[in-house]
C-alpha cells in the first residue's frame, strides 16, 4: 500500500472532491502558490474561478464562504488557527448559529481547513490550538485527523457534509506518513471515514489513553516507553470532537478502570476536560483511580526554545500520568 504524507492526503481529498462535484471550490490566502503546501497545482487543474486567492480579510471571506454555501456552493476554506480569531464573528454568529436560528432552513456545507502550528518557535500569535473554543459553541463539526489515512477520509466526508466542518490540521501529525490505499483497492472505490467514530489506535489492557490531535502521537510514544515494563496502554483517537464518540472511550475505561487524556490545547475547558468530566460522570463506577489530564499549561506560548517545550504534553508527561493512575 502506498505511504503518503498528511499534506498529500489532504491534497488528494481536495482534488477528488473538486473533480466529483463542480460546486466545490477552494478559497483562502495564497492558495494558488500553495504557501501552506496542500493546494499545489489546483489552479492549473481547476482554473481561477475554483481556486480563489482572497484578500487578507478573514472575517469577510469566511462570511463569503458561508453565504456562498447557502446558495448551492461547497467552499473549502484554507486558514490557520490563529487567524480564526479575526473571523470569529462569522464563525460563531453565523456559522454556528444560522441553521438553528432560522429553524433549519440553512444548509452550510463549508469545510474550513485550519492549519494548527505550534511547538516551532512561532510565539503566542502563531501557536494556537483553539478547537475546544468551538466545542463550546454548538453548531459546527470539529475534526482532528491525526494521520494521512484519516486526513483524507475525514476531509472527503467533511466536504460532503451539509454542516460547517472545522478540520484542524495538527502541526505534529502533519509530518507523519501513513499507508493510504489507492482508490482502486478500496471496496467503494474511495476513502471515506465517518464522523463520530473513534479509532482504537492501539489495543491494551491497563490504562486507557485518549489522545487529541497531536496528543495521539505522544500517547503512542508513551506506550512504547512503557511496554518493556509490561504496562499496556490502550490508545484511543476520537478523530472528531463534535460529534464525539464517548461510547468507545467509556467501554475502554470499563475494561481498564484507568484514564489519561492527552490534549495539546490549554488545560482549562479543553477537549480533555470535557472527556474527563463525562467519564467522571458516566463511567465513575468503572474508575479505579482519579483521571489524569495531560494538556498544555495555562500560560501563553513563550518564544524561547528554553521555555516553549515546557508547556506542551510530551511522551514523558504521559508516562508520568500513567504511573499516577496505576499507583
Amino acid at each position: 500500500m502506498p505511504v503518503k504524507t498528511y499534506i498529500q492526503a489532504i491534497a488528494e481529498a481536495t482534488i477528488e472532491e473538486m473533480e466529483r462535484d463542480e460546486s466545490v471550490f477552494t478559497m483562502g490566502e495564497d492558495l494558488r502558490q500553495s504557501v501552506y503546501g496542500a493546494t499545489a497545482g489546483l489552479l492549473e487543474r481547476f482554473g481561477e474561478d475554483r481556486v480563489i486567492d482572497t484578500p487578507l480579510s478573514e472575517n469577510g471571506f469566511f462570511g463569503a464562504a458561508l453565504g456562498a454555501s447557502l446558495c448551492g456552493m461547497r467552499p473549502i476554506v484554507e486558514t490557520v488557527t490563529s487567524f480564526l480569531w479575526v473571523g470569529m464573528d462569522q464563525l460563531i454568529s453565523q456559522a454556528s448559529k444560522m441553521r438553528y436560528m432560522f429553524g433549519g432552513q440553512a444548509e452550510l456545507p463549508v469545510t474550513f481547513r485550519i492549519r494548527m502550528f505550534y511547538a516551532r518557535g512561532a510565539a503566542a500569535h502563531h501557536s494556537d490550538r483553539n478547537y475546544p473554543i468551538f466545542m463550546n459553541t454548538p453548531g459546527q463539526k470539529i475534526i482532528c485527523p491525526t494521520n494521512a489515512y484519516d486526513a483524507k477520509g475525514l476531509m472527503k466526508t467533511a466536504v460532503r457534509d451539509n454542516d460547517v466542518c472545522l478540520l484542524f490540521e495538527d502541526g505534529i501529525a502533519i509530518s507523519s506518513r501513513t499507508e493510504v490505499p489507492d482508490n482502486k483497492d478500496l471496496p467503494g472505490g474511495e476513502l471515506l471515514v465517518p464522523f463520530g467514530v473513534a479509532n482504537t489506535v492501539r489495543a491494551g489492557s491497563d490504562v486507557t489513553v485518549v489522545g487529541i490531535a497531536g496528543g495521539v502521537q505522544h500517547a503512542l510514544d508513551a506506550a512504547k516507553l512503557l511496554e518493556p515494563e509490561g504496562i499496556s496502554l490502550e490508545v484511543i483517537d476520537p478523530r472528531t470532537l463534535v460529534p464525539l464518540d464517548m461510547e468507545t472511550i467509556l467501554k475502554s475505561v470499563e475494561r481498564t478502570g484507568r484514564l489519561v487524556v492527552v490534549d495539546p490545547a490549554h488545560k482549562m475547558c479543553s477537549a480533555a476536560s470535557e472527556i474527563a468530566a463525562t467519564v467522571a460522570q458516566d463511567g465513575f463506577w468503572s474508575l479505579q483511580a482519579p483521571i489524569q489530564v495531560v494538556a498544555s499549561e495555562q500560560v501563553n506560548v513563550p518564544y524561547s526554545p528554553a521555555l516553549e517545550p515546557l508547556i506542551y504534553p510530551t511522551p514523558e508527561k504521559v508516562v508520568a500520568a500513567v504511573r499516577a493512575v496505576l499507583n
Partner: protein
C-alpha cells in the same frame, strides 16, 4: 419612471403592510406579549419597498436587527413573520429566531442578523455563489449607517468590487446608531462617498421616496446582472420611533431633538408615495383608502394567526441543529445526564 399603476399600488400595499405590521408589534409590546426586543422600521418603509421592487423573486436579500421591513418588502408572509415574533411554531423559523432573525429562504430572504454588519459578508458570499455558479441572481444587503463602520462592511465591499460581484450594498442612513449620530461616527460627508475607495459607484438617494430608491436600485441591479459589479446606495431616511421597543429611557434622552423628529416626520414615506400614485397613476383617494383597509385587515388576521399558533413543543428544542446528523452528534450525544 417606468412603474405602472399596478406596481405603484403594490409598492404602497407593501409599505402599508410594514407600517401596520410595526404598529401591531408596538401594540403587542405594550400589552406585554412581546418576548424579546424589536426594532421598528416605521419611517423607513420606502427603502425596503423601493429596493425590493427592483428585485426578482429569485434574488437574495439579507438584513439586520431592524428586521421586519426587509422580509415584508420582499414578499414575506406577514402571518408567519408575526408568529415568529411571538415565538410560535408557525413562525418563519419555528420560533427559534424571533424578531431579529426573520428568514424565508424559499423566497430569497437569507435572514436578518442581530450582530450589526454580520450579514454583509453573507450577502457577499451569496453574490459570489451567483457568479461562480452562473446562477443569475443578484444579492442585496440592508445595513445601517452604524454598520457602515464595521470591518465586515469594508472587507465585503473590497471583495465585491475586486471580483465584480452582483451585489447591492443598501445603506439605510437613518442618522443614528442607537444614540450615536452618523455625523459623530462616519468620517466622510456621506457613506456613499466611500464607494469610490473601493472602485464602485456610490449613489445617494432620498430614502423617503420609494420611487427614487426603486430607480437607483434598478440601475444597480442592471449593473449587477450585466457583470459590471457592485453598487453602494445610501438611502437617507429617518426612524420615527425609538431605536427599539422598551428603550423608553433613551427616548427621553436628548440625542435627537423634538424639532428634528417633528421635521423628519413631515416627510412620511407613505404620504409621499400616496401622492406619487395620484400624480403618476391617477390613483384615486378611494383606491388608496381601499389598499389601506385591505392591509389593515390582513395585519389583524396575522396577529390573530400568530396568537392562535401553538408554541413549539419542548421536543423541538433539539431539532434543526444539524443538516447532516450523524452518530454521536451532540443532542443525541447528551451522555451527561
Amino acid at each position: 419612471m417606468a412603474l405602472d399603476k399596478q406596481q405603484l399600488e403594490e409598492m404602497y400595499r407593501r409599505m402599508c403592510r410594514i407600517r401596520y405590521f410595526e404598529e401591531a408589534v408596538i401594540e403587542i409590546h405594550s400589552s406585554g406579549e412581546l418576548i424579546g426586543p424589536a426594532h421598528p422600521y416605521i419611517g423607513e418603509e420606502a427603502v425596503a419597498v423601493g429596493a425590493c421592487t427592483a428585485l426578482e423573486d429569485s434574488d437574495r436579500i439579507a438584513g439586520n436587527h431592524r428586521s421586519h421591513g426587509h422580509p415584508i418588502a420582499k414578499g414575506g408572509d406577514v402571518k408567519r413573520a408575526m408568529a415568529e415574533i411571538l415565538g410560535k411554531s408557525d413562525g418563519f423559523c419555528k420560533g427559534k429566531g424571533g424578531s431579529m432573525h426573520l428568514a424565508d429562504f424559499s423566497i430569497g430572504i437569507l435572514g436578518e442578523s442581530g450582530i450589526v454588519a454580520s450579514s454583509v459578508p453573507i450577502a457577499t458570499g451569496a453574490a459570489l455563489a451567483s457568479k461562480l455558479g452562473k446562477k443569475g441572481f443578484v444579492s442585496l444587503v440592508f445595513f445601517g449607517d452604524g454598520a457602515s463602520n464595521q470591518g465586515a462592511c469594508h472587507e465585503s465591499m473590497n471583495m465585491a468590487a475586486l471580483w465584480d460581484l452582483p451585489i447591492i450594498f443598501m445603506c439605510e442612513n437613518n442618522g443614528y446608531a442607537i444614540t450615536t449620530s452618523y455625523r459623530n461616527s462616519v468620517s466622510v460627508e456621506h457613506v456613499s462617498d466611500r464607494a469610490s475607495a473601493y472602485g464602485m459607484p456610490g449613489i445617494l438617494v432620498d430614502g423617503q421616496d420609494a420611487i427614487a430608491v426603486w430607480e437607483a436600485t434598478t440601475e444597480a441591479v442592471r449593473r449587477a446582472r450585466a457583470g459590471e459589479g457592485p453598487t453602494l446606495i445610501e438611502a437617507m431616511t429617518y426612524r420615527f420611533e425609538d431605536h427599539s421597543l422598551g428603550l423608553d429611557r433613551i427616548r427621553k434622552s436628548a440625542y435627537r431633538s423634538q424639532e428634528e423628529v417633528d421635521e423628519a416626520m413631515k416627510r412620511d414615506p407613505l404620504k409621499i408615495h400616496r401622492a406619487a400614485m395620484m400624480t403618476h397613476a391617477f390613483s384615486t383617494e378611494l383606491e388608496c383608502d381601499e389598499i389601506e383597509n385591505t392591509v389593515r385587515a390582513e395585519i389583524a388576521e396575522a396577529v390573530e394567526f400568530a396568537r392562535n399558533s401553538p408554541f413549539p413543543e419542548p421536543g423541538a428544542l433539539f431539532d434543526d441543529m444539524w443538516a447532516t446528523p450523524v452518530k454521536n452528534t451532540p443532542v443525541s450525544q447528551s451522555t451527561r445526564r
